[in-house]
Amino acid sequence: MTQTVLWLAQRVTAAILAVCVAVHLATIIYAVQGGLTAAEILGRTRGSTSWLVFYSVFVAAAAIHAPIGLRTVLGEWLKWRGIWREVFLVFFACALLWFGLQAVIGVFA
């Protein structure tokens, strides 16, 4: 059951990330035309609820997706299985979410 839920979560977040990464890259390519400054980026993101929602979803999807993949890497490469691996990954997911959302809020507020 756990494996199936993790697999589903990774598949769903992968689909979300595919869209988010495409939009993110397209925006970068568009935005760097004619130079790029911090003021220009902040001018676009500050107070913009759309970018706030977009990057919050991006961060949340990454915070779910990455630890599930890392779980397999730790199990197969380092033979680290058992409860402490899961505890570590919960902390890792929380760290990704925390730092990611700090960055999102940083360019919004």
Partner: protein
């Protein structure tokens, strides 16, 4: 031809004469009969039906009886070893117990609801379920896929392509009554979700089956069952 055989003790070199249409099994048999009778290896049918003569030939798992030397020899030399991912009993003979224990763990036994007093179940060959069964049913349990699988090498508990392929054929058998239990058996930490879809099993299967497709089917089936709360 120079033949390097990975034996239990060390790698041993032999000189074997080439013949037209010579198979790798012919080479191993020549070594055992003419050069070193202590060499241990396993075979039975010699015609690709029993699946017992699989070995690693030049790094690739193959049925030795159906592999012509002409097709695999590099610079007139061959390297022959036991199948990977299985314990070696001696020389080229591997212990297949864990391989078949995993079939049992994946609920590889058929359990129908009918008794001998009931009539035969009529199953049309055109139904989607039966087509899925047909696609995987010809497996003869030679363990070539298991030996080729990187995930088995990284995670020894992983059930492996053959056992999961077997579970998929039974899952699609409309006579089968234990399928919810089977789905639980293949949804664990060592089950279908551990597959990385490298497709080495499908690439190497001598019967040209696709365990990868079977495993993908199991992933979908377990996901559906989980969403319905049936897992």
């Amino acid at each position: 031809m120079r033949v390097l055989v990975k034996r239990s003790s060390a790698v041993q070199e032999f000189e074997v004469p080439r013949h037209p249409s010579q198979t790798v099994l012919d080479v191993v048999t020549y070594i055992q009969r003419k050069l070193d009778p202590t060499l241990a290896y396993r075979y039975a049918c010699r015609v690709g039906m029993c699946g017992s003569c699989a070995m690693t030939v030049n790094g690739v798992p193959r049925w030795t009886c159906r592999t012509h030397v002409d097709k695999v020899a590099h610079d007139d030399s061959l390297q022959i070893g036991p199948l990977k991912n299985l314990p070696v009993i001696r020389d080229l003979v591997t212990d297949m117990r864990e391989f078949f224990n995993k079939w049992a763990r994946a609920k590889g036994q058929f359990e129908g609801a009918r008794t001998r007093h009931d009539d035969f179940e009529e199953i049309s060959p055109e139904t989607r379920n039966r087509e899925a069964v047909d696609a995987g049913i010809e497996c003869i349990g030679c363990a070539v896929c298991y030996s080729a699988c990187d995930v088995v090498a990284a995670n020894p508990a992983y059930l492996g392509p053959a056992a999961l392929n077997r579970a998929w054929t039974l899952l699609n058998d409309v006579r089968e009554k234990e399928n919810s239990e089977r789905l639980r058996a293949v949804a664990g930490d060592a089950g279908c979700h551990a597959c990385h879809t490298h497709m080495d099993c499908t690439e190497r299967c001598p019967k040209h089956l696709s365990p990868t497709a079977a495993i993908a089917g199991l992933k979908r089936a377990t996901a559906k069952a989980a969403l319905k709360g049936e897992l």
